[in-house]
């Protein structure tokens, strides 16, 4: 049995890119500072030397153009990996992603596939202030035609990319900026994982904590703390925000009858609102208490540390919400 | 204790255990457990009730006397001083 080896989220993602480029010459990577600079979060460090400037393409700061070009190249049969440095800059390319990538197959009556993969860092917590701290995964998960993946473990970071590249439709992979240094185990015999189902990261009988991406570590910590208070909390990692694993959400709520949704995005119109709606529509008779959500305060994320911490969902917020529900 | 008194106290105790039983329909000489839905616990509780209300101790060896109403009435009349 080959024992698992520990590696970081960053190295796992780099390995995934290298593996994909070695296997398939249709795959190439482009984005701002991905080549010479080695990537803003050093994910692509060393790839330029290994694969050369034709397949590791530094782009000018023209998000709409190079994301659009990635979509165009995919339309013509390539399998591009487009790295948008962070979701904050993707707003400039939103038109290309939403009005071209997501629509082309449906609008052309099934003629044109767009097998592009777009990777973006996301999330806050590093005092980068409001313009560099957005969590907009929910926006993209709103758009039919896109698939949205949020790897929260080293294993998902390693293996989601190959499934995404095989997918004939556009897939957007969000990598929470705080997770790049996270260490985790990577079984040597691991393989491609699905982009459709949630994963129970911790089982529990009194309460279900539903979350994704960067909020998973905080949610697991909260579950541990709740356990010391005699409250058994399960943790469901959504892994994918579109398509949402509705069955897993309903199953979790039907088992514990109490649910807290943890999402770093804002509440209003966020993915947490969608999850709450799914529960209310499909499992209302299973509820023994109101659906609770722990999200960011509805403010632009402030620069100062204490304000940023007050803005973002914290472990204590999750624990408090859980205790309220179980009222013990 | 007259037989009527004995019979009354027997059925009073029985009423707590099996309220649906109508005394007039019970055949005095026939095995009680075949006429009424009584399990061994009901039966014991019934005898404990009779013993407490009539003050008659019912040793283990006399338990079999209480299989029928007639037997029970006779035993009580004989033992109730």
């Amino acid at each position: 049995m080959n024992s698992p080896r520990t590696t970081t989220y960053r190295e796992a993602m780099r390995e995934a890119i290298r593996d994909a480029m070695n296997r398939d010459d249709r795959v190439f990577l482009m984005g701002e500072d991905v080549g010479r600079y080695g990537g803003c979060y050093a994910v692509t460090k060393g790839l330029l030397e290994e694969f050369g400037p034709e397949r590791i393409r530094d782009t000018p700061l023209s998000e709409s153009a190079f994301v659009g070009a990635g979509i165009g190249a995919a339309l013509a049969g390539m399998r591009p990996i487009v790295e948008v440095m962070t979701v904050n800059f993707s707003l400039l390319a939103l038109d290309q992603i939403v009005n071209t990538a997501a629509l082309y197959l449906h609008m052309s009556g099934g003629q044109f596939n767009v097998p592009v993969v777009i990777r973006m860092a996301t999330g806050a917590g590093r005092q980068l202030a409001a313009q560099h701290s957005h969590s907009l995964e929910g926006w993209y998960a709103h758009v039919p035609g896109l698939k949205v993946a949020t790897p929260a473990t080293v294993e998902d970071a390693r293996w989601m990319l190959s499934t995404a590249l095989e997918d004939p439709d556009p897939v957007i992979i969000f990598e929470h900026a705080s997770m790049y240094n996270m260490e985790g185990e990577l079984p040597l015999d691991g393989g491609p994982v699905d982009l459709a189902t949630a994963a129970v990261r911790r089982s529990g009988t009194d309460l279900s904590l539903i979350t994704y991406g960067g909020s998973l570590p905080k949610t697991l910590a909260a579950a541990e703390e709740l356990a010391t208070m005699g409250i058994s909390a399960g943790v469901l990692d959504l892994r994918v925000l579109r398509p949402l694993d509705t069955d897993a959400i309903i199953a979790a709520v039907s088992a514990t009858h109490r649910v807290v949704v943890v999402d770093e995005g804002w509440k209003t119109g966020g993915i947490s609102a969608e999850i709450a709606a799914i529960i209310a529509e499909n499992a209302v008779w299973e509820l023994d208490g109101p659906i609770k959500r722990v999200c960011s305060e509805e403010v632009p994320v402030p620069y100062s540390r204490h304000l940023e911490e007050a803005t973002l969902p914290q472990v204590q917020d999750i624990v408090a919400a859980g205790r309220d529900l179980v009222a013990r | 204790m007259t037989p009527e008194q004995a019979r009354k106290s027997i059925f009073d105790v029985l009423a707590d255990i099996a309220p649906e039983v109508d005394p007039s329909t019970v055949d005095d000489s026939w095995d009680l457990t075949e006429q009424i839905d009584l399990d061994s616990m009901d039966y014991l509780t019934w005898m404990v009730g009779i013993s407490e209300t009539t003050g008659v101790a019912i040793p283990q060896r006399d338990v079999s006397k209480f299989l029928t109403i007639a037997g029970a009435v006779a035993y009580l009349v004989e033992h109730a001083d």
Partner: protein, 323 residues
């Protein structure tokens, strides 16, 4: 397509577009066509000229004023009309309408309702050809209005930087919807904008189908030979409103009349008649054939069916999972 086409073929192609667009106006007013409708009347020479210079394997990316490009590229008029009727038999299953005609077989990557939206996409198509060492050309059409969009500059720069096989075709009809060029661009010599990206650029009389054909042929040949992107600015004019609900307050009737003197169809017909290569009978025969073809297209659209509601979610994602 690019087999040397006789002048009469060019005239016929332009006439075909002209009558098709007139019929669209009529059908729109009869409520058969809905939504937005942008007619190409007056600019026929550009589409016919450029398409003549392209090969079947080349790619075309157009805009919402795309009927002329679609017809000149060889997409079936019945499928186009059915698409505007919203019928299943339309070239996009009735889902796109006038602004979103698609045809994978003809590598016609659609109209685009977002001004400048097609530019990055075209750069991408060319990038793919570049990466695979193929000598295909991608022609992308856009109006002078798109020149104000960031995507134009980003795309021009990217194409020039990476030396990609893109033919930028700017149809400068002087009015971006209701705004004249000089009121939207500090530099109205658009070719200078292209030159600033080291992209070869020429101005062409968009009302003369022969001039357009010659310029397009030269540019396509250079692009195909690895000369990198080229930029052609076709000076042209649309004789009708920007779209179907436009009282044209922004331009005078006189200006329209002046440009109508240079009607690409009328001028070319008169020239061919003058040099004896077109008889009156041949012209009337051409008119009859075009009208019959368009009547057939309308009939095809009328008999079309509605896409079943149950198929609404088809093609949101690919069918058959991630193969």
């Amino acid at each position: 397509m690019s087999a040397s086409r006789s002048p009469k073929d060019l005239l016929r192609e332009m006439l075909r577009i002209r009558r098709f667009e007139e019929r669209c106006a009529e059908l729109y007013q009869a409520e058969k066509i809905r939504g937005f409708l942008h007619l190409y009347i007056g600019e026929e020479a550009v589409a016919v000229g450029v398409m003549g210079a392209l090969e079947p394997q080349d790619a075309v990316v157009a805009t919402y004023r795309e009927h002329g490009h679609a017809l000149a590229r060889g997409i079936d008029p019945g499928a186009i009309m059915a698409e505007m009727y919203g019928k299943l038999e339309g070239c996009s299953r009735g889902r796109g309408g006038s602004m979103h005609l698609f045809d994978a077989a003809k590598r016609f990557y659609g109209g685009n309702a977002i001004v400048g939206g097609g530019l990055p996409l075209a750069v991408g198509l060319a990038l793919a050809d570049h990466l695979r060492g193929s000598n295909r050309v991608t022609a992308v059409f856009f109006g002078e209005g798109a020149v104000a969009e960031g995507e134009f500059h980003e795309s021009m720069n990217l194409a020039a930087l990476w030396h990609l096989p893109v033919l930028f075709c700017c149809e400068n009809n002087l009015y971006a919807m209701g705004t004249a060029l000089e009121r939207s661009e500090s530099q109205t010599r658009l070719t200078l904008k292209a030159a600033s990206y080291e992209v070869p650029a020429w101005e062409v009389d968009g009302m003369d189908v022969l001039a357009v054909g010659e310029a397009a042929g030269k540019a396509v040949e250079s692009v195909r030979a690895g000369g990198g992107p080229h930029f052609l600015e076709f000076r042209t004019f649309r004789f009708r409103a920007h779209s179907m609900f436009d009282p044209e307050l922004y331009r005078s009737k006189e200006e329209v009349e002046i440009w109508k003197q240079r009607d690409p169809v009328e001028v070319f017909r008169t020239r061919l008649k003058a040099d004896g290569s077109l008889s009156d009978d041949e012209w009337e025969q051409m008119e009859r054939e075009v009208t019959e073809e368009i009547d057939g297209a309308v009939d095809f659209a009328e008999r079309g069916t509605w896409e079943p509601i149950e198929e609404l979610t088809r093609f949101v994602y690919s069918e058959g999972g991630s193969s």
